[in-house]
């Protein structure tokens, strides 16, 4: 019988572990109901490693990341679950300690670099402000550090760049500046929330290269959120596939691509156009739309779009279980109850 995810995670040695999230539930309280944006998500992250969270819009990946840093909007609340960052209980942490960690040990890079910087302050003043909050140093010293950080991320003329306003920079430059700000205090952990979605393709590649380099140099753990499987392939060590607030599949990257086990993952992988398609076939999509998060909860959320669903899928929530070593799936059929036949599985390898 496949082992429960919790038991497995608890057994793994903790030496390099920087983040443990266990059974996280984050709900949004709206006028028309409670949207269960994150409904039972668990994962871990070690230093120097990258965890990629992949899923479509509304799957809960950004909310998960926001929960880790406690950056939820007013109507969002962590209902239950555990978030342990570097021995800090993030759910019950005091405000002061939280502010101490943010920007310092944990940092975040946002999707749209142009809107993520305060438009009425110069780049330099924003960078200096952040540095001085966490490391007590003079303005001149902070300025020096800012210049070095800008050099580190490959921005030309850093001294004069400090005096620019965000609107004066291109998207790629803004993103580099954001990365510079994020790593300026040597964080142990960086969340990259769709860091390249708003950028041109050529710039995308450079930014990813930059992130990888910095990760190597700083031994930083990265939580990479994206809907782009190609980026996952480039960057991630482990992958978590999310759908409608829940984890579908959680595995090392090579295993996921070599032996995907969840029907949703199959759908995602199939929807990527491949060179071998030779341009004759239509793009494959998963028919249907994701469920309204105010109505989910009592069964497998993928039920209405899954080609292999059974009556059991409609009545019980599938739990995340370890099918193969290190490879977890939340699917009733793959978990040993009414297992998918070999034929169906082979069709997707």
């Amino acid at each position: 019988m496949a082992q429960d995810a919790q038991e497995v995670l608890e057994k793994t040695p903790e030496s390099g572990r920087i983040l443990t999230v266990h059974d996280l539930h984050t709900y949004f309280h709206t006028a028309s109901g409670i949207a269960k944006a994150v409904d039972g998500v668990s994962f871990t992250l070690d230093r120097g490693k990258t965890l990629g969270i992949v899923g479509e819009s509304g799957s809960g990946k950004s909310v998960t990341a926001a929960s880790v840093m406690r950056l939820l909007p007013k109507n969002g609340r962590i209902e239950s679950g555990e978030i342990i960052f570097d021995d800090n209980d993030m759910v019950t942490i005091e405000k002061d300690k939280l502010l101490d960690l943010r920007g310092n040990d944990m940092a975040m890079i946002f999707q749209d670099p142009m809107t993520a910087l305060d438009p009425v302050f110069k780049i330099g003043s924003q960078m200096i402000e952040q540095i001085r909050i966490h490391d007590h140093m003079s303005k001149a010293e902070a300025r020096e550090r800012s210049i070095e950080m800008l050099k580190l991320v490959g921005i030309p003329n850093p001294e004069s760049r400090l005096n620019s306003y965000p609107y004066e920079l291109s998207g790629g430059m803004c993103q580099r500046v954001m990365i510079a700000m994020a790593v300026s205090c040597h964080p142990k952990f960086v969340i990259a929330d769709e860091p390249t979605t708003a950028l041109d393709v050529t710039v995308q590649a450079q930014v990813l290269e930059l992130l990888k380099d910095l990760q190597q140099q700083l031994d930083t753990a990265i939580l990479l959120i994206t809907h782009n499987l190609g980026i996952i392939w480039q960057m991630a060590d482990t992958v978590m596939v999310m759908y409608a607030g829940r984890t579908c599949e959680y595995a090392p990257m090579e295993d996921l691509y070599a032996r995907p086990l969840h029907p949703y993952t199959w759908g995602l992988l199939d929807s990527m156009p491949k060179l071998s398609d030779a341009g004759k076939t239509d793009l494959k999509t998963i028919p249907g739309v994701p469920p309204d998060l105010r109505l989910t909860g009592a069964c497998c959320n993928f039920y209405n779009r899954c080609p292999y669903a059974t009556e059991h899928c409609r009545t019980e929530v599938p739990k995340l279980k370890e099918i193969l070593p290190g490879h977890f799936v939340a699917c009733h059929r793959q978990n040993g109850v009414n297992k998918l036949t070999r034929g169906e599985v082979n069709a997707h390898e």
Partner: protein, 352 residues
Amino acid sequence: MHPSCSWHHHFPAVPRAEPAPKAVFSYREGDSQVLKTILKRILQIIPVLFVVVTITFVLTRLIPGDPATVMLGPQASPDAIAQMKERLGLDKPMWEQYVNYLLGVLQGDFGYAYSYSGPVLPIILDRLPATLMITITGLVIAILIGIPIGVESAVKQNTAFDYVFMVLALVGVSMPIFWLGLMLVLFFSVQLGWLPAMGMGSAAKGAWDVISHMILPCSCLATIPGATFARITRSSMLETINADYVKALRARGLTESVVIWKHAFKNALPPILTVLGLQLASAFAGAILTETIFSWPGLGTLIVNAVNSRDYALIQGIVLFSAVIFVFVNLVVDIAYMLINPRVNYESGGQS
């Protein structure tokens, strides 16, 4: 505290693949652009001032009756009236009167106020400080109370605090200022007898005498602008508080008060400044009514007296004076706007 990290000295910078992009605005370019826009704005007031002077001239000429008859009284002989008209230059053709007036204004000659037996401009300047005393104080109070309430209401959106203060603010902007003045007098002077209802008090009797006379008029003048500031601050803050960069700022570990007051507030300033400009400009309107109630010897009572006694020159002078002040105040506000919000120059090139 987190130790200062010097690790980055040891690692080479990531080589950049993209060529150095041509900056949209380099620092130096950006600064001179701002200056150019400001200069443009300053030049724009000239046609407006011209229009203002013209409108003042036209309006005053339209007031029924003529200055000569008013000054000499209904018993005066036609000869005396004709003589007076000649003295006042009223017998000349209209366009000549206009030019003379324009030239006079440029030299500081606003005419002669017969009801006060003196040239207009010095009379205005003499009464100006009294008006400034209560209007400036009133506005400062309005800013100091209204803006923080607005910020807090935005932060505490939809709570009891927000609701209560916004209702109060709404009532505040709906009340006639002269009624408010009367109610203040009724309550604090007539019923309670705490504060004087009239006049300015004199420094000779001590600071408290002056202050006690100022309290009611200043409160009266502060209420409506204060309510307006609270409302506009709240609505402007609501837009900035929900912006993306605010989330990013929090993610960097800045405290909530820094995020709100340093960053969100600065972004929310432009509409607030606009309203500030409007309030400064319409402060005089409030002053006219307030001074009437409190018998405060300022420009407000001056204009009312001038209108009642048909002192054309004085009417003309005060109207022109207040309009010119308005134009300059708006100019200052616009410049402040441009200095605070760099994007305004970039996008619109200074168009209003």
